[in-house]
Every structure is written in C-alpha cells, then in structure tokens.
Amino acid sequence: MKERKTSVFDGLLADNTVLSSLMVISPVIVCGDTLRNAAALIAAFSVITFFSVMISSFVPRKIPYAARIVSYAVISSLIYIPVRIAAGEFWPEAVERIGIYFPLLAVNSLIVFQTEARFFRMKRTNMVLSLVFYILGFDAVMLVTAFVRELLAYGTINSMMTDTPMLISGLGKPFGGFIFLGMLCGIYRKIRSAAGHRKEEEQEE
C-alpha cells in the first residue's frame, strides 16, 4: 500500500481532529446539540488551543517528558482564565449550559499529547498552519454536528424555530451524540477511502 503524503491541511479533512484522530470528542458528544453551544465551544477551543500550543512550543525540550506535559497543561490552564472571563461576557447562557466541558477544553489531547507527537516535530511555519487546520477540523465537525442535532432534536436552527416534520429528541442527548458521531465517523472514513482509491487510480493512469 502506498504511503499517504502528509500535508499541513490534513487536520481539516484527511486526518480530521475528531473524525480521524478521535480527539476532543466529549464536548462534541455532550454539548454539540445546539449551534449556540457550538459557537461558544469553537471560540474557546480555537483560542485556547492556538495560544497554548504556540506558547508551549517555547518550553525547552531538555526538561523531562513528564515535566513538559505538566507545563503544557499549566500553560493552557492559565490561558483558560481570560478566555473563560471573555466567554462569560459573550455567551453567558451557553457557558452555564456547557458546564464542566468548558474547562475541559483546556486539557484536551491536542494540547497535552499531540504537541509532542506531531506539532513540535515540524518547522514553525508548518506547525502554525497545521495547528490552524487541526483547529478548523474540530470547528467544522462541531458545527455540522450541532446543526444537524439541533434541527432534528429540537426543530430549531440557532434557537430559531423551523418547520421540521418530525423531532427525534434522543439525538439531543449524550447517547444521541455517541451514535451520531459514530455514524459520521463511518461515513467520513468511507468518503476518505473512496477519494483515496480514486486518486490512486488517477495516478496509475
């Protein structure tokens, strides 16, 4: 089997943060049921992850691995403080509803582990681009999930009533999130595999 070339754009489609790497799935499953929740989570996740990884990239490699992991977590916890205060101003209701999943964004596996495994092995420009696309990958999945679940579970889009013929309230619950995300993962893999086969055929031709 031919090795797939990695690219800085992988995080969005080819190696999507949520659908492929299965990172940061808890907020998607539990809180990804309305667009308002999604907006608050996307903003917080994007800011916390971007600045945490950028600042963490200056942590010296000489210190032991465990100490580096702890320092990444502490850095993201510090960045969380102003983000939490700002989010409380812009989305007070959403932040209340999201509850414990808001602070949990700061200790997501993208910051704590993928920094070592992926980002810090790249050159700085590539790292920034790759990080942006991994963040966009999460944002995209969060938006799609929230849109579909809100429409089918509550019959609204961004809290505005629509004329949905049938509501499936189970989709708004955590188990609905599990099942929906599982189905989305499977469909994503199918599409990615089909796209991969087509590219190989085109290259062979």
Binding site: P165, M166, I168, S169, G170, L171, K173, F175, I179, G182, M183, G186, K190
Partner: protein
C-alpha cells in the same frame, strides 16, 4: 452442517407465521392502524436492509429477510396509536445502527428490535407509553385522544389488576400491540421451541426466573397469581419469545442460555418491583448484550479446546 442450514431456512417463515398471527390479533383489537404500523415497520426495515447491504458492498441474501421479522417485532412492541414516521425512524435505526454497522446478521451484538424500541422510548416516551383501549379502533390516521397508561403500568404502580384471567389470556387489556396476546404468545413459544427456531434454554431461564422472583416477592394475592401476572405483564412473555431467546444472540449451549435468560429476567423483575419500570426486560436485554457476548466467547473457546483434544486423541 446441512441440517443447520436447513433449520436456518425455516426460521424466517416460522417466525413470520407467529408474528402475522399476532399482527392479525392486533388488527382485530385496534383496527387498520395496527396493520399499517406493522406494514410500515416491515417495509422500512426491508428498505433499510437492502440499502445498507448495498452500501456495505454485500449481496442481499435469503438470511437478510430476517430484517422483516425484526421490523414486525418492533411494531408489536408499540402502541397501536403510534405515528408512522416515528415507527419508520425506529425501524431504520434498528436495522442500520443496531445491526448493520456491526456487520449485519453475521456479527450481531444487539437485538435490533430491542434497540429500536429503546430508541423510540427515549425519543418519544409519552407516545410510546400511551395506549388506546382494547376494541378502540384507531383509524388509518390514529386518533391520539383517549389514550391511557397500560395495564402493566397500573399493575406496577398500584399492584391492582382489574382484568380477569380470560381477558389477560386473550389480550383484552391495554398495552403494546403484540405484547398482550398471552395465549397466542404461549402457542408461538411452543411452536418456535419445537421447531428449534428460538433458544429453549434462554426461554426457560427467563420464565423460570420471573416465576421464581414473583413467587418470592408476592405481596398482593396468591403466589401463583402473582407469578402468572409477572409473566403476562411488562412484555415479559413477548420478550422471552422474540428477544431474549433470539438464537442469533443467545448463547448456543442450553445451560449458558438458561443462565443468560435467568439473569436477564431477574434484573428486569427487580427493576419492575423497585422502580415500577414498564417493560424493563426489553431494556435489560440490551444491557445484557455484553454478557451474551461473553458467553459466546466462552463457548468458542470451549469448542476450540474440545476440537484440539479430539485431534490430539486421534493423533495418538
């Protein structure tokens, strides 16, 4: 091997026969809407199966027709007044999410009908637990007025049973369409066990456990009456025949199947007794799926060890 294949070929017609009799009984009590519900569930299950089998790159075979029985089983667990859209959604969920994503009939993990029932219960709880009275013929488009709690719910919460033994046997009390026809279910159980279409061990374990626990915990009335009502109410008999004893899921060895049925029914009965949970056995059967898989894994290991012993003896 040939006998096993032949046996599997007659499972579908046998199951369909027993289910159609229950559907006809539901039609007698509740009119055209009951019949249409069964038809909608069967049609959507079949369509979902055909589409998902194609999506998975497989051929549609005779064995895949069991999806129709899953759809009808699901419909028989609903009130006769259920909306067609919800029934269709439940059927599609049962076939696609509870069965085919795991590999279909060759790799079953959950009973599709049970999973579909729970999906509908969690999404449309009020509609799923509100039933029309017997002989209240709901038209083609169901009349949603005049719905009430099931006899099982009243029995669970108050311990009172207003219906006579005859009415209970004939299914003349409010409840799920197919879960109330006790006499027909007993006949169906006998036919399917004799034809080896369902697991006799699992069936025996389910009934034995329910009777035992009901006799021990009897508060209102005689032990015999309590035990009989425990089997008749909360879809216990229906689930014992079509869900817990499903050969695709229950352990193959009779003693393992007995224990599987026993513990499923025991847990369900305790939930009915302590939490007044209506139709708990259907929900517990899904939660017991890991246990059923564990039994099957154990059986496979036993079979492998036995085969190794036999070949070692032959080599000697």
């Amino acid at each position: 091997m040939l006998k096993k294949a032949e046996r599997e070929r007659h499972t579908f017609p046998d199951m369909m026969l027993t289910l159609l009799v229950l559907v006809l009984m539901a039609f007698f009590y509740h009119g055209i809407h009951a019949l249409m519900l069964a038809a909608v569930c069967a049609a959507f299950s079949l369509a979902a199966e055909m589409i998902s089998v194609k999506f998975l790159g497989r051929e549609f075979r005779y064995g895949d027709l069991m999806c129709i029985t899953d759809g009808i089983i699901l419909s028989l667990m609903m009130p006769a007044s259920m909306a067609y859209r919800a029934a269709a959604a439940g059927s599609v969920f049962a076939v696609v999410c509870a069965k085919n994503v795991f590999g279909g009939r060759k790799n079953m993990i959950f009973s599709p009908a049970a999973a579909g029932y729970i999906f509908m219960l969690t999404s449309w709880k009020k509609d799923m637990l509100s039933f029309p009275e017997t002989y209240a013929h709901t038209g083609f488009f169901a009349d949603t007025e005049g719905l009430a709690s099931s006899a099982s719910h009243i029995y669970n919460t108050t311990g009172r049973m207003e219906h006579t033994g005859y009415e209970i046997l004939m299914g003349s009390f409010s409840g799920p369409m197919g879960g109330v026809s006790i006499l027909l279910l007993m006949i169906a159980a006998a036919v399917l066990i004799l034809r080896k279409d369902i697991s006799a061990g699992a069936f025996a374990g389910t009934i034995a456990s329910t009777v035992l626990f009901a006799a021990i915990a009897a508060e209102h009335g005689t032990k015999m009456r309590t035990a009989a009502l425990a089997v008749a109410m909360n879809m216990v008999l229906f689930a014992a025949v079509y869900i817990v004893s499903d050969k695709r899921l229950a352990p193959r060895k009779a003693h393992f199947a007995f224990f599987y049925g026993f513990f499923t029914a025991a847990a369900a009965y305790i939930l009915v007794l302590t939490m007044a949970k209506e139709n708990a056995i259907v929900i517990v059967s899904v939660l017991m799926a890991p246990a059923a898989l564990g039994f099957r894994t154990l059986e496979d290991k036993i079979d492998i060890l036995s085969a190794e012993e036999v070949s070692a003896k032959e080599a000697e």
